[in-house]
């Protein structure tokens, strides 16, 4: 069932697509985090902004990814922008909510203590609130990264130039269902997602040895 010859001849291509998969995901999570961080800080300061930001991000999150990629092709063409914009948009809901939840979770007496020590609002945010929000922020990054790694496979529908490992899934199918090639895309993409998940769990434990690595899972799902 597995064509070992094909695999041996395509190791370079698999390595290239794995690298592409990782950088497409990294750009999306990086840009998504930067946008989410700003939005979350705005929402934490001005509470009135939070419901509309959260609702809009939630609506974008509900729209199936294939629809977003398809819609963008007509606007931004077969470019990397078409691949990245939906990927970034899907990270927003996870990251904004987790950062805001992390900031909200700081106990009121801790804030009072910080004020009592003469912290300005900015000092309190950077020295007290954000460090205490780190576990939930990392939990959000974990979900966003794993989810983005899955979504990168679908960027292969834009053109053969994208897709990361998803390229092999689509190409293998289009060759009339060539199992070896489809598996060469599917299995490594699953391993990437699981590997990223594992690394984030390790990071969560290392960053916050005192806290049970409690992801937002239970509270927000």
């Amino acid at each position: 069932m597995i064509d070992w010859g094909w695999l041996a001849a395509h190791l370079d291509a698999i390595a290239y697509r794995t690298g592409q998969h990782l950088y497409l995901a990294a750009i999306a999570v990086g840009v998504g985090f930067a946008i989410s961080f700003v939005l979350a800080l705005v929402a934490a300061r001005q509470r009135a902004f939070y419901p509309p930001i959260s609702a809009l991000a939630g609506i974008l999150y509900t729209i199936p990814s294939l629809a977003l990629f398809a819609a963008l092709i007509s606007i931004t063409g077969f470019s990397v922008v078409t691949a990245e914009v939906p990927l970034v948009m899907y990270t927003l809901v996870i990251l904004v909510r987790n950062i805001v939840a992390g900031l909200d979770g700081v106990p009121a007496d801790v804030l009072e203590a910080a004020d009592g020590m003469g912290h300005t609002r900015r000092q309190r945010l950077w020295r007290v609130e954000l460090p205490l929000a780190v576990p939930l922020i990392v939990a959000g990054l974990r979900l966003a990264t794993v989810s983005t790694i899955g979504l990168v496979t679908i960027t292969g529908t834009i053109s053969d130039a994208f897709g990361g490992l998803g390229y092999f899934i689509l190409d293998g199918y289009n060759r009339g269902g060539f199992p070896t090639e489809m598996y060469a895309g599917a299995l490594p993409s699953i391993l990437l997602a699981l590997g990223a998940d594992f690394l984030f769990v390790r990071a969560q434990r290392r960053i916050t040895p005192w806290a049970q690595a409690r992801a937002l899972e239970a509270t927000s799902s």
């Binding site: 069932m1 959260s54 609702a55 991000a57 939630g58 609506i59 999150y61 509900t62 729209i63 199936p64 990814s65 294939l66 629809a67 977003l68 398809a70 819609a71 092709i73 007509s74 606007i75 899907y90 809901v93 996870i94 909510r97 987790n98 959000g140 979900l143 794993v146 989810s147 790694i149 899955g150 979504l151 990168v152 496979t153 679908i154 292969g156 529908t157 998803g166 899934i169 689509l170 293998g172 199918y173 269902g177 199992p179 489809m182 598996y183 895309g185 599917a186 299995l187 993409s189 699953i190 997602a193 699981l194 998940d197 937002l216 899972e217 239970a218 509270t219 927000s220 799902s221």
Partner: protein
């Protein structure tokens, strides 16, 4: 012609509203395959999740299964299923069956997690009160825990339904029907009107489904809230589950 005009022209063309490749039939296909897989996922995940939440046994295992399921890229699950389903049925196995498998596999985790966390979070005093009144375990689960946990349980169903609709859309890449056909065929034929018409239809179906289940959640909560025991935090909209 600009995009809006092309899309409007496509949507209002009577040819789009009749026949096997028409919008009503594609919508029906989409809803049908989504309903079948949601029913299958509920059958698999709901009893297990409720039992785990009630007894507390197997929570670690369920969390592991759910986390694994959530990490799976949906396209990869379809790809893994195809060579197997093709052996079962050469025609359907290459089109609709692998998508159906993926939809069920990806819908199980959110239903399972929310069913067991919802039940496990129910105020233990309520459960003990039921026990004190001589209720049997089954009666406690169905009469006390499930009603109180219902908004949370429905939250899992909502995530699963959104996930399923997105995966059904992907199925069009692999030759199954549904609204995804307009996206895949529209891109292939370079027909922007069809692509955007498809985008509108798919997005509307997903948002309407989510809104409908959210209304059910609110109805369930207003009843449960009188018991002051339903964890309101779990109702927060927008479930971070793995997205297709």
């Amino acid at each position: 012609m600009n995009l809006v005009a092309e899309t409007a022209a496509w949507l209002t063309n009577p040819a789009q509203w009749a026949g096997q490749a028409g919008i009503p039939n594609r919508l029906l296909e989409h809803v049908l395959i989504a309903s079948i897989s949601l029913a299958a996922a509920l059958l698999l995940a709901l009893p297990a999740g409720l039992a785990i939440g009630h007894t507390g046994r197997g929570a670690g295992l369920a969390a592991g299964v759910a986390n694994l399921g959530r990490s799976l890229p949906s396209l990869a699950v379809i790809a893994l299923a195809i060579p197997v389903t093709v052996r079962i049925d050469p025609v359907l196995g290459g089109s609709v069956l692998p998508t159906l498998v993926a939809m069920v596999v990806l819908a199980v985790p959110p239903i399972l997690v929310n069913a067991y966390t919802g039940v496990a979070e129910v105020d233990r005093d309520l459960v003990e009160a039921g026990r004190g009144m001589g209720m049997r375990e089954r009666e406690i689960l169905l009469g006390i825990e499930l009603p109180v946990a219902l908004p949370v349980v429905l939250g899992g169903v909502r995530s699963a339904a959104v996930q399923i609709i997105a995966t059904a859309t992907l199925g069009a890449i692999f030759g199954s029907g549904g609204l995804g056909r307009f996206l895949v065929d529209g891109i292939a034929q370079n027909d922007d009107g069809q692509v955007f018409g498809g985008v509108l239809l798919v997005a509307t179906l997903a948002l309407a489904t989510e809104a409908a289940i959210e209304i059910l959640q609110r109805l369930a909560r207003s009843k449960g809230a009188e018991n002051a025991a339903s964890p309101a935090s779990a109702i927060a909209p927008g479930p971070p589950v793995l997205r297709v």
